[in-house]
């Protein structure tokens, strides 16, 4: 059972999570990172490109610059929420994607990786997870990005939609309880709802501890 974040006397921020909770958070962080990389076409080639961009050879640098300009508009609806258009003018939005999307993706992926590393380091069982201020910022942003992806999968469009989803789930549980039917699709969205609630609660508790 998770215990909320609190500020410790030395200024660090700590919460307690059990092994299953850590594993779930690490897993959805990994899935979010994979989704971003897959949709934006960021792969292992990215490192080679980066090296080329820092190369002494001007031709290689130019090549890298052009390759880096392929900032595609995300096709996945969740990734579009993570990388929204920066302008309502499509031409301007396209230009901003070209200029900033890769840096934004690198920052998001770095946050997600950092959170996975922190959770790994905390070990498999019930344990304390301790963050410094900088790690807390990464945790906040990463939790938020994962929540954005889960919200998209749950079809949340407007304020209050999560309450509706939650209510429908409870009605479903009562109906299913009577009929004892357990179809896979329902079980799947039940897990997404539970993880979304866990992450929201954890993020809120971290915000309160930081305040």
């Amino acid at each position: 059972m998770a215990h909320a974040f609190r500020r410790r006397p030395d200024g660090s921020l700590a919460c307690r999570l059990d092994g299953e909770e850590k594993a779930i958070i690490a897993q959805v962080a990994q899935e979010t990172a994979d989704l971003i990389r897959g949709d934006l076409g960021i792969d292992q080639g990215g490192d080679a490109l980066r090296r080329a961009a820092e190369s002494e050879d001007p031709l290689r640098r130019l090549e890298a610059e052009f390759a880096g300009r392929e900032a595609r508009t995300p096709s996945d609806s969740a990734v579009r929420r993570l990388f929204p258009a920066a302008s309502e003018d499509p031409a301007l939005a396209e230009e901003y994607r070209r200029l900033g999307q890769r840096d934004l993706a690198d920052a998001k992926l770095a946050d997600l990786r950092r959170v996975m590393r922190i959770l790994d380091a905390a070990g498999g069982g019930h344990s304390e997870v301790v963050l410094d201020e900088d790690e807390a910022m990464s945790m906040l942003r990463a939790l938020n990005d994962v929540r954005i992806v889960l919200a998209d999968r749950l079809g949340l469009q407007r304020d209050g939609d999560f309450d509706t989803v939650r209510m429908l789930q409870q009605i479903g549980e009562r109906v299913e309880g009577a009929e004892s039917s357990g179809d896979d699709e329902h079980v799947g969205s039940d897990i997404v709802i539970a993880v979304y609630e866990l992450l929201s609660w954890l993020q809120e508790s971290l915000l309160r501890a930081l305040d």
């Binding site: 900033g100 998001k108 906040l140 942003r141 304020d159 915000l207």
Partner: protein, 107 residues
């Protein structure tokens, strides 16, 4: 709210010069705005935290802006040069907020 002034040697100019130049800059360059849009995911406390942490706004200002986003669907959270607005929009995206750049008066 911050408006970028042209950089020059301040000692060599009179107050009137500076005022004229500021007016010219405003007329020709902008100012540009950073708009944050409402969405169903970001926690109210998170949005307030981001406005305070990134822009350095007081709690009262940050809460007002957050409520404006929540109630009206959008709020202008910063103004300035185009470069500043671009930086701010990118920063809002890094926090997962929905944000666009806008020329003042177009919204």
């Amino acid at each position: 709210m911050p408006v970028d002034l042209p950089r020059a040697e301040p000692r060599t100019r009179t107050r009137t010069d500076a005022a004229t130049e500021e007016r010219t800059t405003l007329e020709t360059e902008g100012p540009w705005c950073t708009v944050v849009w409402n969405d169903p995911v970001n926690l109210m406390s998170y949005v307030v935290f981001v406005f305070r942490r990134y822009f350095g706004y007081s709690r009262v200002v940050a809460e007002q802006l957050m409520m404006q986003v929540h109630d009206e669907g959008r709020a202008i959270v910063s103004r300035g040069s185009r470069e500043k607005a671009e930086t701010d929009v990118q920063a809002m995206h890094s926090f997962g907020l929905q944000s666009t750049i806008e020329k003042a008066g177009e919204g």
